[in-house]
Amino acid sequence: MTAAAITDRSLTGTDMGAAKMANARTETAAAATPTVEAAKPVAIETVASTQSAGRAGEWLRAIGRAVMPPVMGLALLIGLWHLATINGGGIPTPAKTWEAAVVLFSDPFYREGPNDQGIGWNVLASLQRVAIGFGIAAAVGIPLGFMLGRFAVLAQMLNPIISLLRPVSPLAWLPIGLLVFQRADPAATWTIFICSIWPMIMNTAQGVTRVPQDYLNVARVLNLSEWKIFTKILFPAVLPYMLTGIRLSIGTAWLVIVAAEMLTGGIGIGFWVWDEWNNLKVEHIIIAIFVIGIVGLILEQMLMLIARRFSYETR
């Protein structure tokens, strides 16, 4: 009966909805399902409450299983370090390093002249350089990567150059920066820029070439404009690749800054390491190694979080 009634309709905007009657049956069926499902959780909850005591124990055990191995690994490291340094030598023991760290971190933000500032200032100075260099690299590298992925000619043109420049050691770029900018600070930033740009270009370009043909066919069939193709198809499809590139880049940037600052001096965690070596405060160097590692870890984890937030697969 419904089908017969519908046959007379023509396709005007309002009449498109007319065929919904035909689907009324399907929708009712769909609406009925949740009522059946609703009964289940109640039953599960009753079972859960009787077992809650056992659950808490299990939970603790689970945490133990997750935390114990890393703690044991760390303990092993410190133990070996202790054994290696207990009979003297240049490297301080864990205990001595810890004492120095307590003193150091009790006042991380002191300033006594340009060459004697707290470790907090040094870390912040390095982070600022990384942020600027990396920011410019992202602003240049990501669009360039998109273009490389979209236009084969451009890729063929630039790929040999990229392959040539990518493996160059970061410190080889520093003199060029010093020459061009005449000052240490922009030279360090330049080094960060040039070293962290490659993973972003490569990964973005690779992401663009890997956009599934299905999506591009959709774009063609729907006749989407270049702008819509970019915002609705290319960008979301490439985003996971792009974020991988960004993650690799920021890791590189953080690696490079320490080396660059050792050479340029001034302020920064890399300079600080070198300065403490000149002062022969080896325990401070060890502390710096830990600080560099932890900051790098935090940067990486932050980007992982962002990546997960923007990945459509896990949303």
């Binding site: 017969a4 929708e27 006749n223 609705k232 979301p236």
Partner: protein
């Protein structure tokens, strides 16, 4: 005399590969009349999808002439909507946004946002998915995804609906359900449909004409079968319909006797 909406004249398609020229289609001649439903059937690799892509304008014929409404098909157009086999929804957009993308493209030049949203809702309503409009494709079932794909195609108010094995990846029950819905929608919208399928029952049930392709390479149209069964069609009643059985038998005869795939 009903109007010819698509004219395919002596169309051939070949691809140049490493191993020389591969002829996919040759000498295809077919006129599609406004409002009719056509199935393209044949063994896999016979160029069914190639022919559909040609009509869609996704690829261009190597020889011959393809006309839509008397004009040469130069590329995809909003009057020819495509439903892909694997639904091809964009995973980062909700069902609503997926459909809206198509609506926006076709109608945004002359209509306001509110009207565009209304059209999107109407299209989702047509396939019975109003309740799932805020869901992402990975949150809904395969059958629902395919319905969103159909809604996206219908929302453009196309004159021809091109479907590439739209129900191929679905289970039998879902497929039957969607076939019934599709018949109702086609009756309501009076759209022309060209569907690629390898399912004999589906071809007979949905089509006015079944176009049978010979085996590839260099496939062409072998036979065209007219299905003279009145609409609306009811799948249960058809199970005992002698004409339905005849049509099935004719297609099976073509596929499994005349065009039996050797060494496949």
């Amino acid at each position: 005399m009903p109007k010819k909406i698509v004219q395919i004249e002596n169309v051939g398609q070949y691809f140049d590969t490493k191993n020389g020229r591969f002829v996919a289609l040759r000498e295809v001649n077919l006129d599609i009349v406004e409002g009719e439903s056509i199935s393209l059937i044949g063994h896999s690799g016979c160029g069914k999808s190639t022919l559909l892509n040609l009509i869609a304008g996704l690829t261009h014929p190597t020889s011959g002439l393809m006309l839509c409404d008397g004009r040469e098909i130069a590329g995809p157009g909003p009057e020819r909507a495509v439903v892909f086999q694997n639904h091809s929804l964009l995973p980062w957009l909700t069902c609503f946004e997926n459909v809206y993308l198509a609506v926006e493209r076709v109608f945004s030049s002359k209509e306001g946002k509110a009207r565009l949203k209304e059209r999107t809702r109407a299209a989702l309503d047509l396939v019975g998915l109003t309740h799932a409009e805020a869901k992402f494709p990975h949150e809904i079932s395969g059958g629902m995804k395919q319905r969103v794909g159909i809604a996206r195609a219908l929302s453009m108010q196309p004159r021809i609906l091109l479907m590439d094995e739209p129900f191929g990846a679905l289970d039998a029950l879902t497929r039957a359900n969607l076939q019934d819905e599709l018949m109702k929608i086609l009756a309501a919208t009076k759209a022309t449909m060209v569907m690629v399928t390898h399912d004999v029952d589906e071809a007979v049930l949905l089509s006015d004409r079944v176009v049978m392709l010979t085996n590839g390479p260099s496939a062409t149209i072998g036979e065209i079968l007219e299905v003279n069964i009145e609409r609306p069609r009811d799948r249960l009643a058809l199970a005992h319909d002698p004409h339905f059985s005849e049509c099935r038998a004719a297609i099976m005869e073509f596929l499994y006797h005349k065009q039996l795939k050797r060494a496949a």
